[in-house]
Symmetry: C2
Subunit: 158 residues, 2 copies
DNA sequence: CGGTATTTATTCAAATTTCAACTTAAATGG
DNA sequence: CCATTTAAGTTGAAATTTGAATAAATACCG
């Protein structure tokens, strides 16, 4: 099963799996976004909150946050500006590197996180985790981790 | 393992799998987008081309295309306008329902599709399919299909 | 040290996406 | 039939995202 220039097409099984994966990715994002709407947060907002919540002193360098959330610096900068306006985070200067800035979780941001997280987790369960058996969960992780590893590497050497 | 208001947190295993899935989704989209760049197409463009290519007479009603690609009608409308300007598709009136329009693949769109598809498929292989054993592929499909089904249903009754 | 290259982060403009308002046509139901 | 509701699709403005250009500070190297 070859294309004219030698590339191999996908078998039916491969194609089915590929499309299912794509569909799940998209619908899941879409659904989680929707489940956050009542709290006035986008998924992007939430992701920033998670990262800052888990970080030492509830703060991270802009660069690191951009890397962690897979966003461009420019995009993160805008994103943080918006969240700053919403009172969720603030920027703070970095002593040791005067080019640098920290994004810091505000008290309100932290309160918001604590309030919203349980609902978000419930949504993740409802739409993903609880639909998988322990065995399926395990094989999913086993299958996807190498893919993640590959993609991280590929992205890196861009 | 309960939150204050009764929601169950994720176990380490669950969390790891969840995050891996998220990461793969994102990096994969990102990578495929990048692999299409040399051809001057976005992933959205490509997806439209795929759908039209597989459709009867290389044409689809705007609504159906929007549904198939999980986009809003508005977004699709803009998208098609852009692709029309690029010469990849054209709009055509629908006889039987005079509100309706078809998006139709142009010759150039079809040529483009035939030219680009092998490269795209190769990318899908390189970054996903070929990293999975047949067994993993199978279990992935088995695990994700019910999730897809659930999400389709959930989305529907929105 | 002094100059050049990198890194960090922001900004502006252009492209894309979203959202609500609108138009036109078809379906529904007294 | 007519009136109303629903469906198909577009439009324009606002919000977000992208990408190149910029500014400022640090790192590197002869």
């Amino acid at each position: 099963m070859e294309t004219e220039n030698g590339a191999r097409w996908l078998s039916d099984e491969e194609q089915r799996t590929w499309r299912t994966h794509l569909e799940v990715s998209r619908l899941l994002t879409y659904q989680l976004e929707r489940d956050l709407q009542p709290f006035g947060l986008t998924y992007n907002d939430y992701e920033i909150l998670v990262n800052l919540s888990e970080a030492e002193d509830h703060q991270m360098r802009m660069s690191d946050l951009a890397r962690a959330t897979l966003q461009s610096k420019s995009r993160l900068s805008h994103q943080i500006t918006r969240m700053e306006n919403a009172g969720l985070v603030r920027r703070e200067n970095c002593e040791s590197d005067r080019r640098g800035l920290f994004a810091v979780l505000t008290d309100y941001g932290w309160e918001t996180m604590k309030r919203v997280a349980p609902h978000h987790v419930a949504a993740v369960r409802e739409h993903f985790i609880d639909l998988l058996s322990p065995r399926e969960l395990e094989s999913l992780q086993a299958a996807l981790e190498p893919v993640a590893k590959h993609l991280r590497a590929t992205r890196g050497r861009a």
